[in-house]
Symmetry: C2
């Protein structure tokens, strides 16, 4: 099967979660962001599914993945599907749900990290909400990030990363976390401490794998 990944051209964003899983597994896929509009790619290809009246199960937003007749939206949902198909997740139900649970927790962390830059609106620029961003970032650093780190560190301490559900390959929750946080760190982050903490989190995520 040749998968087709739909995401905005020019940015990593949430598309990178899916891209890395596909790359890691060596799956065949077309990245619509890299296909020219003349050849049926780019933004019009996304809009056709986001707005098309003939799409039976439309996605709410990018990324979405075409896998044969399946059209899948929601990053965690796509990774749940690919994790099983591409051998990046355990096959037993308990391991599969645990992996999904970790991925959802990482996704929550990323939303909160993102919202430190955009506490008022994701459609507004950072400079339009800078004062609020600084306040939210302080709260995030003081209360939320330590809670997430404490959690992932407890998971690591229990050496669950050495359990039967992880082989020598990178695992998608980890891949996911590293890339997203690296992406965040390259942006207009509220302060240096945030960058450092992102870096630390990326290291922790690699260690899980």
């Amino acid at each position: 099967m040749t998968y087709v990944l739909y995401y905005w051209p020019g940015i990593q964003g949430r598309g990178e979660y899916v891209r890395l899983a596909l790359e890691e597994a060596g799956a065949k896929y077309v990245d619509i962001a890299l296909v020219s509009e003349e050849d049926g790619g780019g933004v019009p290809a996304l809009e056709r599914y986001l707005e098309g009246a003939d799409v039976t199960r439309p996605p709410f937003a990018v990324p979405f993945l075409k896998a044969g007749r399946l059209l899948l939206g929601q990053t965690p949902n796509i990774l749940l599907y690919l994790g099983g198909r591409l051998g990046l997740a355990p096959r037993d139900e308990a391991g599969k749900l645990w992996t999904h649970q970790l991925q959802l927790t990482i996704a929550d962390l990323i939303v909160e990290a993102h919202d430190t830059h955009h506490p008022i609106g994701s459609g507004l620029y950072y400079h339009e909400q800078k004062r609020e961003a600084k306040r939210r970032a302080r709260d995030f650093l003081a209360h939320r990030l330590p809670k997430f780190y404490g959690y992932f560190e407890r998971v690591l301490e229990r050496k669950l990363g050495r359990g039967p559900w992880l082989g020598p390959r990178w695992h998608w929750p980890a891949v996911d976390s590293v890339e997203r946080l690296a992406g965040e760190a390259n942006r207009d982050a509220p302060d240096d401490r945030y960058l450092q903490l992102n870096s630390r989190s990326a290291t922790a995520a690699v260690t899980i794998a």
Copy 2:
């Protein structure tokens, strides 16, 4: 099997997502929020799993569900599991993933609705971030909520709710949405329009089922 649901006593919150699925299916379960501390319930029972060093696959936060030997965290993950077990979700892979996709989209909406009250920090009171809340609520009402409504309305128009994956029973994404939004509407909402829109969303969600 008797399920055990762990959530804070005294509030609906995300525990209600799971509670309603269990209730709707007539499943046997113990609601730890309703069990006294003397009898092993209440907050200490939650903390035992959230902080216990001997928990193999610890949840990050409540709600979590004990299902035999499984300990499951993350609301969408719990609903994914229960949806299959309790006959509240389709059995085929495509339908199961589509249902999960809708549920994740509803969960995204709820996070954004919640954050209109708490744009700076979930640990701060509303009155400590009222000015920012009003600004975020305006942006949410102008841009985000219409996008979510537009999406769910498109889903409804395509009569996917009449497809083979939905019977006469309430479906968990719908149950989920109604209860959560009703809960939000009872709080200190930024303005009346927000209440009205919540009510409209609840109606749409019922119609899906």
